[in-house]
């Protein structure tokens, strides 16, 4: 049935039917064939956080080595490898994937959909992420860990990294790019087509706007991080000369390609976290976001400008002044939309009658204040003469870590406190959350604030140790102590998770009294998300005119006459909407569970592995398997046996 008829069916029957339709198979088969966006998001969350911890351990190893001059904790060689893997793990495997984690879990709920537009592609994107991460970390098992820096500048990485390390890096990065790209396509189409009826683009939650912007940025910037490492892999493995100046190649070409991706990616990993804060802060300020349209415009403008700033990473390479000047101006200009975002937050909090200082709110506000420091040092290095002075020093290390930690890691913890009750059904401890916040944030500033000064007095970055008597000892020691404090703060959050799970305080559907649609369903979320397709008429559909949560959310109990789309056959049905104003389009049959995403990702793994070990047989087997998986994936569509 598609409409609940009170004469023939009860709400309980409808929910039972929907559960049958949307549940995965039990046990192991269900685990491997599931395409549920909630499972995808859940897996992304766990995997991404594990990589965050691994990257953090590598950072601690480096900070331990740098605690005192001439230390011998890590050899120079091992330091380089940890430096490379810290940057690679954090940027590629954590920062870029935690946004997909919350995106996958929250966005379909926030727009009132039953799944992402392409459920199978969605799970495929996760498997590729997992396999690409494993691929890069295989290097640890043979001791040939990437050692050329996460930025992988040539010729260091072509001529002076002879072992397989940078091959793992280059091919792993290309492999992972597939995951990000298909994920971006999925987010865009989901936003355009799967919004609940009446959820116009001007009622679209800001987290969806920021992920939409980010996804377009991925489409246009990730080709650079596919082409560059692929050409590097060709140079290293089959002997081409793209980056070899002796035979017509060019070393600076690498930097152009890398930073054409490398700067937009900074905003790609920062805009969605700002989107989380756009959701969290209004909830705890009990206030609608001030200047919604300004926030949307600022988000989209940041996306555009971010493509015109990459050369500011290359001010010291001797480019013509006019070129560098253009990029300097653009880099200064990108601070304008970010400032608009800050004004939006300030105005929202300013006009609030009462602010609830929950752990989530603390993390959110702490993130914004810390981020401002990184923003200001960003404006400083956008000015060319200043950049020449601080280039390749710890000043830049301080700047980039302020931006990334405050722009992504702290919002991640805010999001954990805010949305984990939706994922798990139980609340995290507020007290431990606040302890974790203060310890982590004090740690953060202790690590990175002294590094500004270290950079200004000339300590170069990327060095494994330094001499005594340069006056750098105290600041370095403080920085290392801060790193351990930061780690302790993170540990408190991990303890909080397990302790709260044990304590199990029931969350209920809307523990924060929030106004957006993801709170209109049960916690944890039922397999079908919403028992009844919601119809949306407001940016905060769950709030009344006093910004108080309405008592009976729409998605939990289907009402007589509600659109439930619970067919007799085992089809995943949902409503497809069209246009900016989300008119009713058609009833869509979505793809159900399938093993093909797993096979395709595994086949790609075999192909990349064959390329890595220069083994044509393995490569061919992998490519054939890729072809077969693709045929299998689409076979049902071709024959008409399934849709």
């Amino acid at each position: 049935m598609s409409i609940l008829d009170p004469e023939t069916d009860s709400p309980q029957q409808v929910k039972r039917r929907l559960t049958e339709i949307w549940s995965d198979d039990a046990g192991t088969p269900g685990f491997f064939s599931s395409v549920d966006h909630k499972r995808v998001g859940h897996r992304y969350l766990v995997t991404s956080f594990v990589f965050f911890l691994i990257g953090g351990i590598q950072a601690l190893m480096m900070r331990t080595q740098l605690a005192a001059p001439n230390a011998n904790v890590l050899s120079p060689e091992l330091y380089n490898r940890m430096l490379t893997m810290h940057g690679t793990t954090m940027f590629f495997l954590f920062l870029g994937t935690i946004i997909s984690a919350w995106g996958n879990y929250i966005i379909p709920l926030a727009i009132g959909a039953r799944d992402m537009a392409y459920p199978r592609l969605n799970m495929f994107s996760y498997w590729v992420f997992l396999f690409a991460g494993i691929f890069m970390y295989l290097s640890f098992f043979i001791g040939q860990i990437p050692d050329g820096g996460w930025f992988a500048y040539v010729p260091l990485t072509t001529d002076f990294s002879p072992d397989l390390g940078m091959d793992f890096w280059a091919l792993g990065v290309v492999f992972l790019g597939i995951s990000s790209t298909v994920g971006a396509v999925n987010f865009i189409v989901t936003t355009f087509k799967m919004r609940a009826p009446g959820l116009t683009m001007s009622r679209l939650p800001l987290v969806v706007w920021s992920t939409l912007t980010t996804s377009f940025m991925i489409l246009f910037s990730f080709p650079a991080i596919t082409v560059a490492p692929l050409l590097m892999a060709f140079d290293r493995i089959v002997g081409t000369h793209f980056f070899d100046p002796e035979l017509g190649g060019d070393a600076l070409l690498w930097q152009h390609l890398f930073w054409f991706w490398g700067h937009p990616i900074v905003y790609i990993v920062f805009l969605p976290p700002i989107g989380w804060l756009y959701m969290i802060i209004p909830t705890f300020a009990r206030q609608r976001i001030a200047g919604y349209h300004w926030a949307v415009a600022a988000t989209v403008a940041t996306g555009f400008i971010s493509f015109g700033v990459w050369v500011h990473h290359m001010f010291a390479t001797g480019l013509p002044d006019v070129t560098a000047g253009f990029f300097s101006v653009a880099s200064l200009g990108v601070s304008f939309p970010t400032a608009v975002a800050f004004f939006v937050f300030t105005a929202t909090v300013w006009t609030a009658r009462r602010i609830e200082w929950t752990a989530s709110m603390l993390w959110a506000v702490g993130a914004l204040i810390s981020f401002a420091i990184g923003g200001i040092s960003g404006v400083m290095v956008a000015v060319m003469p200043f950049d020449w002075q601080t280039h390749d020093t710890y000043f830049v290390v301080a700047h980039l870590h302020y931006v990334l930690v405050a722009g992504n890691v702290l919002p991640m913890f805010a999001a954990f406190h805010y949305w984990l009750p939706k994922v798990t059904g139980w609340m995290l401890s507020e007290r431990l959350g606040k302890w974790s916040f203060w310890v982590t944030v004090i740690g953060l500033h202790l690590v990175f604030f002294p590094q500004h000064w270290l950079g200004l007095v000339g300590m170069p970055r990327r060095v494994y140790t330094y001499a005594e008597g340069l006056g750098w000892d105290t600041a370095n020691l403080v920085s290392t102590v801060g790193a351990y404090l930061f780690a302790l703060g993170v540990l408190i959050s991990v303890v909080n998770f397990f302790w709260s799970r044990h304590r199990h305080v029931d969350a209920g559907p809307n523990p924060w009294g929030a106004g957006t649609l993801e709170w209109a369903t049960t916690s944890p979320v039922a397999p079908y998300n919403f028992a009844q397709i919601p119809v949306v008429g407001d940016l905060y559909p769950l709030w009344d005119d006093q910004n108080r949560a309405i008592p009976q959310p729409v998605g939990i109990e289907p009402e007589p006459g509600g659109v439930v789309l619970a067919p007799e056959e085992e089809h995943h049905e949902t409503l497809e909407t069209v246009g900016l104003d989300a008119r009713i389009g058609s009833v869509l049959e979505m793809a159900g569970p399938s093993y093909w995403p797993l096979w395709l990702a595994a086949s790609l793994f075999v192909s990349f592995f064959g390329f890595l070990i220069h083994n044509l047989a393995t490569l061919t087997a992998g490519v054939v398997a890729v072809g077969l998986s693709l045929i299998g994936w689409h076979w049902g569509h071709i024959t008409g046996e399934e849709h």
Binding site: S2, I3, A117, Y118, T181, A184, V185, I188, V189, F192, K193, P197, G198, L219, F220, F222, P223, A224, T226, V227, L231, F234, D235, V238, G239, T240, H241, F242, D244, L247, G248, G249, D250, L253, H256, L257, I533, V535, G561, V563, L565, P567, E573, L575, V578, G579, D581, A582, R583, I584, G585, S586, V587, L588, I631, H634, H637, I638, T639, G640
Partner: protein, 203 residues
């Protein structure tokens, strides 16, 4: 038709929009197109910094065969368009004929590509110098996309013969046509770069 029931039930306007498949292929084309743009950027970047072009003793590519092959590839876009129009008028037989013709023209182009790879002088490889690297990587990258396009067409043919497409539902057919046109359109940029620049902008 349950959508009518939904429309009758909800007080929300209804409308017709693009399908999921259409959006999927458009976004794929955008990102793949950027990928080719990146590769051509690499070409022109190295070209602009080189003292001589082509580098070393490599002769500029021969133009006669490639011009014919280019004409073949572009005509395959025309036959694909005809197939699409035929399907929209419900003429499945005519659609099949022109789809097969498109496939054959594409396959002919690809056969020419393989032949070209085999007869290129032995001293000209992708390891010769950056010019060789650029030529081989870009031309084979396009070749690989063409192969994917051909597989796409083969799938479409099977689906067509199994009655999956008709005048009313030809979205899937249109989408594979769009990918095919894209692969042809890329050639509009790849051909002058790889074959005409070494002749007419030689230095």
């Amino acid at each position: 038709m349950s959508v009518d029931a939904v429309r009758a039930q909800l007080d929300v306007p209804s409308g017709e929009g693009r399908s999921l498949a259409w959006w999927g292929i458009v976004l794929t084309i955008l990102t793949e197109g950027t990928l080719f743009a990146m590769l051509l950027f690499v070409y022109y970047y190295l070209f602009s910094r080189a003292q001589e072009w082509p580098l070393g003793d490599i002769q500029p590519p021969e133009l006669f065969t490639i011009s014919i092959r280019t004409a073949i590839l572009f005509s395959s876009s025309a036959t694909m368009s005809i197939a699409d129009r035929a399907l929209r008028r419900g003429r499945i037989g005519l659609t099949s004929v022109f789809l097969v013709l498109t496939f054959l023209l594409g396959a002919l182009f690809l056969a020419g590509h393989v032949r070209e790879m085999l007869i290129l002088p032995e001293e000209f490889t992708w390891a010769t110098n950056a010019y060789g690297s650029l030529f081989y990587v870009i031309v084979n990258f396009h070749g690989a996309h063409l192969l994917v396009g051909l597989i796409f067409l083969a799938f479409t043919f099977v689906a067509l013969r199994r009655g999956r497409y008709s005048a009313d539902s030809h979205e899937g057919f249109k989408v594979s046509g769009m990918y095919w046109h894209f692969v042809d359109a890329v050639w509009v940029f790849v051909f002058p770069t790889l074959y005409l620049v070494p002749h007419f902008l030689a230095k």
